[in-house]
Amino acid sequence: MKIKMSLAELSAAWGVLTTAVPQRSPRPVLSNIKIRSAEQVELSATDLDIGIRYVFEEAQIEDQGEILVNAEKMSRILRENPSDSIEMEGTENGTRLSYGSDEFHLPGEDPSHFPASPEFKGKKMFEIDKGVFQTLIRQTAFSAAHEETRYALNGVLLELSGTEFKAVATDGKRLTLARTKCKGGKGMEFKALVPLKGIQALDKILSLDDVSIELGADDGNLYAKTKRAEVICRLLEGNFPEYEEVIPKGYENRVKLNRQVLASKLRLADAFTTEETKAVKMHFEKGNLTITAQGPESGEARVVMAVEYEGAPMDIAFNPQYFLDGMKVLTDESVLLEIQDANASAKLTAGEAFTYVIMPLSLD
C-alpha cells in the first residue's frame, strides 16, 4: 500500500480518532489506527467500547492495501506540523512514513489482527442538525455521573419520540433535560443511553465541518454518521431513572433571574465557601434575592440582587457549583427559577428547550 495524505486533514482526523484509542489495553494492536486504501482512504480506531471510522478527503492513492500506524507516534509527528503532506507505505516488515527529508519506520503489526469495523448498512437512522445536537449534548453531559458504579448514570440518554428529540443526564443530585424539534425520523423509535466517552467523541466529530449528523441505535449500540465519519458506541446498560417523574410540573414560587447577574453573584458567594461546606443559602423575599455563604476559615459573604419575587419569604440552600454549571451552558438572557420549600427540588428553565432540576442541601 502507498498513499499520500494532507497533513492538515490528517491532524484533524487524528485528534478525533485518538478518542477511541485505549490508554491501556490487554490487546496492544488497539494502540494503532488502521489505515486502509481502496477507492478511498479510510482510518479506523477502536477500544472495543467505541469505534470510529473516518473517510479521508484529500489523499492520493498509489497502491491499495492496509497498514497500522501507532497512534501516539503519529501524534508526535503531527504535533511538529512538519510539512503539507505525508507519504505512507506498507513495507515488508512494517510501515514507512516520510515527507521532505524525514523518514520513519514503524515495526510491522499484522493489520488483519485489527478488529473489523461493524457495518452500518441497513441501520435505520434519522438526521438532526449538527449545531442543535451539539448544543443539546453540551447542555446535558455536565450533569451526568462520573463515579457511579450504577453505570446507567454515567452517560446521556438520547431519545426521539414523535418529532421531539431529547437529551437527559443526571448524577442523582441534579438532572438536565434539553430538547428540540426534529423533523427527521418521523415515526421512528430511538432511545440510547450513550456513555460520556461516546458523547465526547460525537462532540469532537461534529467539530469537523459537517452540517448534520445521522443517528440510529439497536439493542446494544449507537450508530452515528456524518459526511466523513462513522461512530459506533456500545450503550450503557441498566435502568435510567424515570426522569419525567423527577421533573416537577411547576411550583407556585417563580422568579425570573438574569442569568449573568445570578452567575456573577453566585461566583462571589462561592469564593467564601470551603470544600467541606460547598453551600450557599438563598433567601428570597419581595424584590430581593440575598445569597450568603460562610465557612469557619473562609469568612462570610452576603450578596444581594434585585429580583421580581412575589411569593412568601423563603430560604433554600444549594451547592453553588450546580447552578454555575447550568449558567455556563446557556446563552439565554434570563432563566426562570421555581421553588417549593427548603427540602424540595428546584426547577430552573430556559424556555421550553432547557430544564434543570437541582436538589437542595439541608443545613442543620
Partner: protein, 578 residues
C-alpha cells in the same frame, strides 16, 4: 445399632487440642455440620439475642439411636473415625468427637432426636458439663439441638461476646459459607423470630449465590471449570465489575469444606491481575475437589486452614481455571488496568522524556484536541483537557504511573501518589466540623444487602443517621437513602453504604467515631488518584502543593507510608562517594 464409638487414645493424641467454641457462631457451625453429616435435607437455625440467649438447630437427618444419645456428650465420642488411618481420609465435616461435649460444658444444652424409622425418640441434656439421663420422648425424625445461656458459667467469655448485631452477622457468615457448599440442603436462619434468610434446596450454586448476595454479584458470575489429574476446580468467579475492599468476598471450598489458604488467595489475586484497581479484591466462589489423602485438614482445630501435599498443582489450577473463566467472559468496559511490563516500559520512557524536557508534557496518546474543545469534561477525560503551558518550577517526575520523584533541597523525595492523595483527602474530611450540609437526592437510592449484612443492619443505621444520612429500611434486605452528607456526595452512594455496612458489621465496637473514620477513609480512598493513573505536570504540582500546605493527620489505612525522603548523604553513601 450403636454408631458412636469412643476414640482410641492414639487418635485422641493425634488430634490437635484446641478451643472449638469461641463464640455463638462456632456453636452454629458445629451443630449445622453435624446435621449435614446426618444427611439432613433441611436445617433450621433459630437464634435469640445474637446466640447469647439461645441457639437452636433442627434437622431432618437420620437422627441417633438411644445408645448414641447417651454417648453424644462424651468427649471424643464420634461415629466418624474408627482407626488412626481414618484420620487421613476425612470426608465428613465433623471428626473430632468433641463439639457436643464442649458446647454442653459451657451452656444448657439439650438434644432431642428420633432415629429414622423409629416410633419413639430420645432426649438428653447437659447443663454446664453435667450430663442428665437419656429419656424417651415423642419427637419427629431428625435431631434438634437446643443451646441456651451460652457461656453462663464462663463469665469472661460471656463478657467478650460482641453485640447481638455483630454475633448474628458472624452466624450469618458461617451459615452462608456452609450453605454455599450444600445447595441440596434447604436452610432457614431466624434471629429473634425474624427471618434472616431462607434458602431453597436443589437450585444449584448460581441460584444459591443469588439468594445470598446482592444482585450485582448475581449478575457478574462467570463459571469456572478446570480439571487435571486428581484435581477439579469449579464454581463461579465474579467479574471485576464487582469488587470488595478485602478478601471476605472470596469463598473457597476444599472438598466442600470452607477453607482459608494464603496460597489460594494469592493464586486468585494472580488470576485477576490486570483486571483490578489497586486496593480492590475480587469476589469468587471456588470449589476445589481432590483426593482427601492429598490434604491434611487437621492443621488447625477450627478447620479452616489446610496443608496441601502438592500446593503447586492446586495453585496452578486455580490460576489457570480462574484466568480462563475471566478471559472467556465479556469483560470489556470493566477492565480497569493493564499493567503489562511492555506498557510500563513505554510509560517509564515517556516519563523520563518528560522529566528531561519539562517544557512539554508528553502524553501517552496525544489527546489534545486539534479542534477547539468545548464540552466541560470530568476528571476521567482529563487527558482530553489542554495541558497547562507554563513549565513547572519544581523538578519532579512520575514513574510507573504510581510514584512521584521530587528533587528537594536535602535530596529526593519519593511519593506514593495514591497514598498521599488519600491522606490529604482524609485529613480534610476529618478536620471538617459540623453541622455539615446534607445533599438531598433526586431519587432515593435503594440498595440490596447480602443476607449476612442485612442481619446486622439495625445497629448500624443509627450511626449513618448521626452522620447526616437519611436512610430507611425499605422492604426485604433493602435500604433506601434519601440524603447524604455533602462531603460524601461525590461517591457512589449505593457502593459506599453497602461497603460501610459490611465493614461496620465486622468491627467490634461500631460507634459513631469509628463509623466516621470508616466512611471517610473509604471516601478518601475512592476519591484519591489511583496507582496506575497518568498525571499531568499540573496535577502533580497541585498534589505537591497540597502536601506542602497541609499538616496531615497520621493516617495509613494500609499501614504504609505515603512519602519517603532520601537525603543526599544517604545517596552519596550508597554510591560509595563518602
Amino acid at each position: 445399632m450403636q454408631k458412636i464409638v469412643e476414640l482410641d487414645q492414639s487418635i485422641v493424641n493425634k488430634i490437635a487440642a484446641g478451643e472449638v467454641i469461641e463464640r455463638p457462631a462456632s456453636v452454629v457451625k458445629e451443630l449445622v455440620e453435624n446435621a449435614i453429616d446426618a444427611e439432613a435435607t433441611r436445617i433450621e437455625i433459630d437464634v435469640e439475642e445474637g446466640g447469647r440467649k439461645r441457639i437452636q438447630v433442627t434437622d431432618t437427618g437420620y437422627g441417633m439411636v438411644d445408645a448414641d444419645v447417651g454417648a453424644a456428650f462424651k468427649s471424643h465420642a464420634t461415629s466418624k473415625l474408627k482407626t488412626p488411618e481414618d484420620l487421613f481420609h476425612i470426608t465428613t465435616l465433623g471428626f473430632r468427637g468433641e463439639a457436643l461435649p464442649s458446647i454442653g460444658a459451657v451452656s444448657r444444652a439439650r438434644i432431642t432426636t428420633c432415629y429414622r424409622g423409629n416410633e419413639i425418640g430420645a432426649r438428653i441434656s447437659m447443663d454446664g458439663g453435667v450430663t442428665g439421663p437419656v429419656e424417651s420422648t415423642g419427637a419427629p425424625e431428625g435431631t434438634c439441638v437446643d443451646v441456651q445461656d451460652l457461656f453462663f458459667n464462663t463469665p469472661v467469655r460471656r463478657k467478650f461476646m460482641k453485640s447481638p448485631a455483630a454475633e448474628i452477622k458472624a452466624i450469618a457468615d458461617v451459615v452462608t459459607r456452609i450453605a454455599l457448599a450444600h445447595c441440596h440442603i434447604a436452610f432457614l436462619l431466624r434471629h429473634n423470630g425474624r427471618r434472616v434468610f431462607s434458602l431453597e434446596a436443589g437450585g444449584g450454586l448460581a441460584i444459591r449465590i443469588g439468594e445470598l448476595f446482592e444482585p450485582e454479584v448475581r449478575e457478574a458470575l462467570v463459571p469456572v471449570d478446570f480439571h487435571a489429574e486428581g484435581l477439579s476446580i469449579s464454581g463461579y468467579a465474579v467479574k471485576p465489575s464487582v469488587t470488595r475492599q478485602n478478601t471476605t468476598g472470596q469463598y473457597v471450598f476444599l472438598n466442600s469444606r470452607f477453607i482459608r489458604d494464603r496460597g489460594i488467595t494469592s493464586a486468585i489475586r494472580k488470576a485477576y491481575e490486570g483486571f483490578l484497581m489497586t486496593g480492590r479484591y475480587p469476589m469468587i466462589f471456588l470449589f476445589a475437589d481432590m483426593d482427601p489423602a492429598a490434604v491434611d485438614v487437621n492443621v488447625h482445630p477450627t478447620k479452616v486452614e489446610v496443608r496441601f501435599k502438592e500446593p503447586g498443582a492446586v495453585f496452578g489450577g486455580v490460576v489457570r481455571g480462574v484466568r480462563a473463566a475471566l478471559e472467556s467472559a465479556d469483560l470489556v468496559g470493566t477492565v480497569a488496568l493493564d499493567r503489562s511490563s511492555v506498557h510500563r516500559e513505554a510509560a517509564i520512557k515517556d516519563a523520563v522524556g518528560q522529566f528531561l524536557s519539562q517544557a512539554e508534557p508528553a502524553s501517552h496518546t496525544d489527546r489534545r484536541p486539534l479542534v477547539t474543545p468545548s464540552l466541560a469534561l470530568p476528571r476521567q477525560f482529563a487527558d482530553a483537557a489542554p495541558a497547562p503551558v507554563d513549565a513547572p518550577p519544581l523538578k519532579f517526575m512520575q514513574v510507573h504511573e504510581q510514584y512521584i520523584v521530587v528533587e528537594t533541597p536535602a535530596g529526593i523525595r519519593l511519593i506514593d501518589q495514591h497514598a498521599l492523595h488519600e491522606k490529604i483527602h482524609y485529613t480534610r474530611l476529618m478536620r471538617s466540623e459540623g453541622p455539615l450540609p446534607v445533599q438531598r437526592l433526586l431519587v432515593p437510592v435503594t440498595l440490596e444487602l447480602s443476607a449476612a449484612d442485612w442481619s446486622g443492619v439495625e445497629g448500624v443505621l443509627e450511626i449513618f443517621r448521626a452522620e447526616g444520612f437519611e436512610i430507611e429500611e425499605f422492604g426485604a434486605r433493602t435500604l433506601a437513602v434519601y440524603a447524604v452528607p455533602q462531603l460524601l456526595a461525590a461517591a457512589d452512594v449505593a457502593e459506599l453504604v453497602t461497603e460501610a455496612i459490611g465493614v461496620l458489621g465486622e468491627s467490634k465496637k461500631a460507634n459513631v467515631a469509628s463509623a466516621r473514620h470508616e466512611l471517610y477513609a473509604m471516601v478518601a480512598c475512592k476519591a484519591a488518584i489511583k496507582a496506575g493513573m497518568r498525571l499531568s505536570p499540573g496535577e502533580i504540582e497541585a498534589l505537591l502543593e497540597q502536601h506542602e500546605a497541609g499538616d496531615l493527620l497520621d493516617f495509613c489505612p494500609h499501614g504504609r507510608p505515603a512519602v519517603l525522603d532520601l537525603s543526599i548523604e544517604q545517596l552519596d553513601k550508597q554510591f560509595g562517594r563518602i
